[in-house]
């Protein structure tokens, strides 16, 4: 680091509990979030495997699980969606990588409120324990899907799993909301107030911008979900009628009247659509960072990328109604939501164009992080292209309850975001743990996962167009659905192979953490601040030195520079070659 101001060096806590369990260090907390999400993704993946197996062989009795009845299938569906959306897609990119790298990338020694940061993680952990507990209570896990639509979710007698299991589900979501709000507050304050000298907003890496905008979305969206959840708990346990109209269950009139299930849908999707961007925006940031680094070129249109992310975040709050075209909303409202949804295509296209522009005529280094970043772009485009179809009310009404929607959101929100996480993992593990991951196994993992992902989710689009309904636990009784079973077979086999390939990733990760070759301070020849400090970073991130920033974050192939990259901390003048 050529220019720096000497500062004090923090002494980190020495005891095991303070250092690794209740740590205030954002890096340890980031790693805690990362491993929590890694645990959650295996649980979620296992549930999806059970569903796929059940769809092919509905009569089979599985070890540990036993018979999968229709209601069991719905429980698996609910818990798979909830765990993946909240505890994986929201937790790893923001809580994990964001926590670890946001302070370092802006030149700060920690988050603005370290105690709040620790509380945020442990609150998330409690939320995870509570939702897992739903499997083990009387009646089991709830049936109402990750969207929790009432009246099914609001009536304890609506089915097995809708008793204590559903209460635990709602409680877990409410706790998760509190944790996310604490995290968002910390991210925003840290970004706004703790940037190093010279780190102007327009010099922040796009990863920081993505975490920053994600935090704004979280701050505004999770409060609404919290309110909605409280109303749902009251309907279930206190006899109120916010969401439940006059309803008959098993021939018995329930005590509710006058409530509106659509009220829940509005509140839920006001959170739910921004949640899509909470999941995907950090992936966009990571992809931008990696594409620029491994293309050895500046990111194409830095400012356009920033404004596109801001526009995506803004429009994200305007389009919740496109999830509700089936609810019988006014055609005028549907038109407005449809038009606004189409508008999101513009900033999304800008981002895609700029990613391609970054790679155009570049001397690309096809290492594993880059492969995953390219995979992210591929999945973002593939999943995104079906979005404008579903944004049309007339088409959505045809496709809404089919596998077309499942394929769409798994590509764009699920797997694209997960590819962003894979890219981030391969890119940053050397900095986090001081060891390189195995490149060969990384590439094998990438190619199997990319092919497997497309093999699982592309056929779902055809399945949906052919009328393949989602949420059905078996297709044996419906003649026209029988003809679609070969596609289901193909997807299930693809899922089994793809899930098996994830063992390659986990083994590579843990082997590398302990036995991988030692990483240098800047193995990828990147430019941002985390690559200016030691590997792994010291407790106060910069070893008693406060970085001073002189350059933008993606100064690659700079004419006249000594190397093909210029660190953000390189002084303003004097570098020669």
């Amino acid at each position: 680091m050529a220019t720096s101001v000497t500062a004090h060096a923090h002494a980190g806590p020495q005891g095991f509990i303070r250092k690794y369990i209740f740590s205030l260090d954002h890096k340890v907390i980031g790693i805690q979030y990362f491993f929590l999400a890694l645990t959650a993704v295996w649980v979620g993946m296992f549930l999806s495997l059970l569903m796929r197996i059940h769809l092919l062989w509905p009569g089979v009795t599985l070890p540990l699980v036993g018979d999968i009845k229709p209601e069991t299938y719905l429980s698996l569906l609910t818990m798979h969606g909830t765990i993946m959306v909240f505890f994986v897609l929201t937790t790893a990119p923001q809580g994990g990588f964001g926590n670890y790298f946001l302070p370092i990338q802006i030149g700060a020694p920690d988050m603005a409120f370290p105690v709040l940061n620790m509380l945020s993680f442990w609150t998330t952990f409690v939320a995870f324990v509570v939702i897992i507990a739903a499997f083990f209570v009387s009646g089991g896990a709830p049936l109402h899907g990750w969207t929790g639509y009432p009246p099914l979710s609001a009536l304890q007698s609506a089915g097995p799993g809708e008793g204590l299991g559903a209460d635990l589900w709602i409680t877990s979501i409410a706790i998760f909301c509190l944790a996310s709000l604490m995290g968002a507050l910390n991210f925003l304050t840290t970004t706004l107030d703790m940037r190093a000298k010279g780190m102007t907003m327009m010099r922040m890496p796009l990863t920081v911008w993505s975490w920053f905008i994600t935090a704004i979305l979280g701050l505004l969206a999770f409060g609404v979900l919290l309110s909605a959840g409280i109303l749902l708990l009251m309907d279930r346990n206190m006899g109120t009628s916010f969401y439940v109209p006059l309803v008959v269950v098993n021939g018995q009139i329930m005590g509710h009247k006058g409530g509106s299930p659509l009220l829940w849908q509005h509140l839920f999707w006001f959170f739910g659509h921004p949640e899509v961007y909470i999941a995907i925006l950090p992936g966009m940031g990571v992809a931008s960072q990696i594409l620029s680094t491994f293309s050895r070129k500046p990111i194409f249109g830095y400012k356009a990328m920033v404004y596109a992310m801001l526009a995506i975040g803004f429009f994200g709050f305007m389009v919740w109604g496109h999830h509700m075209f089936m609810s019988g909303m006014s055609p005028y409202s549907a038109f407005a939501f449809s038009l606004l949804t189409m508008c999101i295509g513009v900033p999304s296209a800008i981002k895609t164009f700029n990613w391609l522009g970054t790679m155009y005529k570049a001397r690309i280094r096809f290492q594993t992080p880059m492969l995953y970043a390219i995979g992210f772009v591929s999945l973002f485009v593939s999943g995104g292209l079906s979005g404008p179809f579903l944004a049309q009310p007339v088409l959505d009404i045809q496709l809404h309850d089919t596998y077309f929607v499942v394929g769409h959101f798994h590509l764009i929100m699920g797997v694209a975001a997960i590819f962003g996480m894979f890219a981030a993992t391969y890119y940053w593990v050397p900095k986090m743990f001081g060891r390189m991951m195995n490149e060969t196994w990384g590439r094998i993992h990438f190619f199997i996962t990319l092919a497997g992902t497309y093999a699982i989710f592309m056929p779902m689009h055809y399945l949906g167009i052919a009328g393949g309904t989602r949420r059905y636990s078996q297709y044996t009784e419906v003649a026209y659905l029988q003809k679609l079973m070969p596609l289901h077979q193909f997807m299930t086999y693809a899922a089994i192979i793809t899930i098996a390939a994830q063992f390659i990733f986990v083994i590579n990760l843990f082997w590398s953490i302990f036995r991988g070759p030692k990483a240098s301070d800047n193995p990828w020849e990147s430019t941002t601040l985390e690559w200016t400090t030691a590997t792994p970073p010291p407790h106060d991130n910069f070893g008693g030195v406060t970085p001073v920033v002189h350059n933008g974050p993606y100064e690659y192939a700079v004419p006249g520079a000594a190397r093909d990259f210029v660190m953000q901390t390189d002084p303003a003048a004097g570098t020669t070659h």
Binding site: S292, Y302, P553, G560
Partner: protein
Amino acid sequence: MATYVPSRPGDQVGGGGDVPRPPNGGGDDGRYPDSNLPNYGARLRRARLGLICAIATVSMVFVSLTSAYIVRRGLPTFDESSRTYFRDWGSVQLPWLLLTINTALLLISSLTIEKARRNITRSAALAPVRSIPGISLDEERSFPWLGVTILLGFGFLIGQWMAWGELKGRGFFVNTNPNSSFIYLLTAAHAVHLAGGVVAMLWAGATSLLHRPVEGRRIAVDVTAWYWHFMAVLWLYIFALLAFVH
């Protein structure tokens, strides 16, 4: 041999090349980098920024509850006996006198905590002067405004508890009708947030007893005071909602 001058406009295409780069005072952990002494100004700014974020999210909670209130109020329900639709919003006899007294308590507490905030701001400003050798200033013995505010805060919470008791006494429970459901919900949600403010004030008071530096205590009192003012404004909003939309 070319010289690289990256700050020249247009030279940097990798992001933000043509922007000025003023130092923004960040990048620290609330300490002066050269002396390792606490930078209370930075800490106060950071705490206030965090508070603004917290207020934004609490506002979203109440905005969503308000939208639910308005939507639910306009919904018809089906009457199975007459086979017709009617509005089941219902009426509630609120204990207006008690609620008005509570409102007065909260507004007065907002004034008292503002007094506490200004007093400690002055003390914090004088703290560096007091630390100069040879300079002696009389210790200010100010009225315990923070303690008074805590008492008024507890008074408000007790008053709300009494108001709920009175509602029950009049036969209005949480599930009596949608109107009563929202009254309990909105007032309870506000009370929970306000109780958080009371806890924060107790913490600020405890730091005084622990003889923490006045500059640090000032941050706790300052942020709590602004939060408390927000609670007062939020209560006026809820009061108006219940009074006029009700």
